[in-house]
């Protein structure tokens, strides 16, 4: 009688552990990304931690990493809340796509990023925010920029060089 009770408790313990393992291994965890914005002094960045959606059941790790990369780039280009002073991409600029090949992410921006008349402060600050944000992603150390799918030397009328992958060491 006593042995059967011990056996029952042991079986119950094993069952609880199995259920806990199953739940923990299939639970969706909320994600987050770190996004950088450039201060108007042109010299320093503001890091922000932003919540991202959780990995969905059945979603591969690679697909989820791809989503986080696109999400981070989009947040960097969108800029911080309006009450925060920071260098911002021209209004209307969107991230059309992000692909990752090895350690280089390619960020494809919409044509609104062309904004003739912007000075070095604007252009440098915009891309510094984007490159800092993308290289904060695990495994990414360089960012190639495309505009409407094309490689460009600089933006229209601008002078910041975009024809080669950018790294943090470029600043």
């Amino acid at each position: 009688m006593r042995n059967s009770r011990v056996f029952f408790l042991l079986a119950l313990l094993i069952a609880v552990a199995a259920i806990a393992w199953y739940i923990s291994s299939h639970r969706t965890s909320a994600g987050e990304v770190t996004v950088y914005y450039s201060k108007v002094d042109g010299q320093s960045e503001i890091p922000w931690t932003i919540s991202a959606r959780a990995q969905q059941p059945g979603e591969s790790a690679a697909a989820y990493a791809q989503y986080l990369a696109l999400y981070a780039a989009s947040q960097a280009v969108a800029g911080p809340p309006s009450d925060v002073t920071a260098i911002r991409f021209p209004a209307g600029t969107q991230v059309l796509s992000v692909t990752v090949d090895g350690t280089t992410a390619t960020v494809n921006l919409s044509p609104e990023v062309h904004h003739p008349g912007d000075g070095a402060l604007n252009e440098s600050g915009e891309f510094k925010a984007l490159i800092w944000t993308m290289t904060a992603r695990p495994g990414i150390d360089a960012v190639a920029v495309r505009v409407a799918g094309s490689k460009v030397a600089t933006l229209n009328g601008g002078s910041f060089e975009l024809d080669e992958p950018l790294r943090r060491s470029d600043w």
Binding site: V40, G117, S124, V152, A153, E161, D170
Partner: protein, 506 residues
């Protein structure tokens, strides 16, 4: 057999040119130069293809210049010759540069000044032209009667800008005649699997040189000297290996063939009887990055597997024209830059750069500007790449000491204000710091300091380069400063002082 024939031909040609040179030297020394009833004997004349060359320490040259109230200085350390007059007016020759300056105005020289046995030789007729004296020729001098041309004083900058269309002397300058120039007749591009063959058709004999621009720039220039482009400018596509083949007439009787390669490929250049053949292939071998030779009936070639100093990012830059400063007024022509009301960035940058130029010229520097009026440097409505690279090309092709680009900053609101000096390469930092120090000390404007930034013009200049964003057009206080001529003069003074500071310590 053919190779030996070429070498023998080259040797004969060299021997013949040496003999002709000796004859010309002797003949010139025996023929005095006459003007205003006076006679001058140049003791060191040697004949070049573009005309007579005279040593900067030739007693006859010193006598001639002294009679006009000037003096001649040869600075061996900095490789330049100055002919200075009270005023001051400075005629400046730099060794290896086929242009010379009178004041701030650049003129094509009959040939690039050179050094032989420690003596600097300059184009005699360019000096005489600047003095508004008749050109020297052995035939004219042999006739002995001195001309009645009065010896004028030195010419002022205003006297020579723009250059007169009719020379003020009767004897024509001994420049190569059109029928003596080789003719570039066309380009044939043939694309094969894994390679592209480009044949440059040339009639006549001449010399060429080629090199790759500084990495990561993957363009290659093949310069055909003493040649004329007999066709319209050529633009062709060379398939996957060569994205563009461009052929243009350059000043000083040079035709440039420019190849743009999307990736690193092997480039072979070989001369022949009827031109030059360039083969671009995707073989992976240790390839040459520069070379030179002659084409036509005297075809020879050599190539160097060693990268040029400019092609090695870590190598210290050695300017071929250490007295030459290149100033780049930002924007221009179809690109106004930042605009506020009627004030356009392109006009402010041009004004400041001109003021810097005048200040440097007064101190004896050679200065070339990427533009001196309101225009695009490459072409109207061109790509940013072509436009910015054209500005770098001005400095890179001349082997300038340094490049300074002048801009006006702008922001989406009126908050940011003040000046900032940008650099990118390690070799740029000292220049940017020198500029920033002077700007900070000489102007009361907010100084945002020295900032590293990957700006195209700075990155692709092979020499030390910096970009000065002088003030914010978007800020009301800065806007008022930018409209002030006296403030622009002070900014120009600070930039000029910073440049000189840099040259004195580097």
């Amino acid at each position: 057999m053919n190779r030996y024939a070429v070498r023998i031909g080259s040797a004969l040609a060299l021997a013949l040119s040496f003999q002709l040179g000796q004859f010309a030297t002797a003949s010139a020394a025996e023929n005095p130069y006459g003007y205003d009833g006076k006679r001058v004997v140049f003791e060191t004349l040697v004949q070049r293809s573009g005309g007579p060359a005279v040593s900067a320490d030739d007693p006859g040259l010193h006598q001639l210049v002294r009679n006009a109230g000037g003096s001649v200085t040869w600075d061996a350390d900095n490789q330049y010759v100055l002919v200075t007059f009270p005023g001051p007016t400075v005629i400046s020759f730099a060794i290896g540069d086929a242009h010379y300056l009178i004041g701030s105005v650049s003129h094509p020289a009959a040939f690039a000044p050179f050094v032989r046995d420690g003596h600097a030789f300059i184009p005699l007729n360019d000096v005489l032209r600047a003095l508004k004296l008749p050109a020297y020729s052995t035939a004219a001098a042999d006739a002995a009667p001195a001309t009645s041309t009065p010896l004028p004083g030195p010419v002022s900058t205003a006297d020579v800008a723009p250059a007169p269309t009719t020379p003020p002397f009767a004897t024509p300058m001994p420049s190569p005649q059109p029928d003596q120039l080789a003719q570039v007749t066309g380009v044939d591009v043939q694309v094969q699997p894994g390679s592209v063959t480009i044949r440059i058709g040339i009639t006549g004999n001449g010399a060429y040189e080629w090199h790759r621009l500084r990495a990561p720039d993957n363009r290659w220039w093949i310069d055909v000297h003493t040649a004329r482009l007999a066709t319209a400018p050529i633009d062709q596509n060379g398939g996957a290996l060569v994205s563009a083949v461009r052929v243009r007439q350059q000043p000083a009787d040079t035709v440039r063939v420019a190849l743009s390669l999307p990736a690193s490929e092997q480039v072979d250049v070989a001369p022949g009887n009827d031109g030059i053949t360039i083969v671009v292939s995707n073989r992976i071998v240790a390839a040459a990055t520069r070379g030179s030779g002659t084409f036509g009936s005297i075809a020879t070639a050599n190539a160097s597997p060693l990268a040029s100093p400019a092609a090695s990012p870590g190598a210290r830059y050695v300017p071929s024209n250490p007295r030459l400063i290149v100033l780049d007024p930002g924007h221009g022509g179809s690109d106004p830059g930042a605009v506020r009301g009627s004030l356009q960035e392109k006009m402010v940058t041009l004004d400041i750069a001109k003021r810097v130029r005048d200040l440097l010229v007064d101190r004896g520097w050679q200065v070339v500007m990427t533009r001196t009026d309101d225009r695009d440097v490459f072409a109207a409505n061109d790509s940013a790449h072509d436009e910015l690279q054209a500005r770098d090309d001005v400095a890179n092709s001349r082997g300038a000491r340094l490049l300074v680009s002048v801009h006006v900053n702008s922001y989406v609101n009126s908050g940011p204000h003040g000046v900032a000096t940008y650099y990118y390469k390690a070799g740029d930092l000292a220049l940017a710091q020198a500029l920033s120090r002077r700007i900070a000390s000489e102007l009361g404007i907010n100084n945002n300091g020295v900032i590293k930034d990957k700006l195209y013009v700075v990155n692709h200049a092979v020499m030390p380069a910096a970009l000065v964003e002088t003030a914010y057009i978007s800020n009301p206080d800065d806007f008022a400063l930018l409209q002030s001529g006296s403030w622009r003069q002070r900014m120009a003074q600070a930039i000029a002082d910073g440049i000189v500071d840099f040259t004195e310590s580097n």
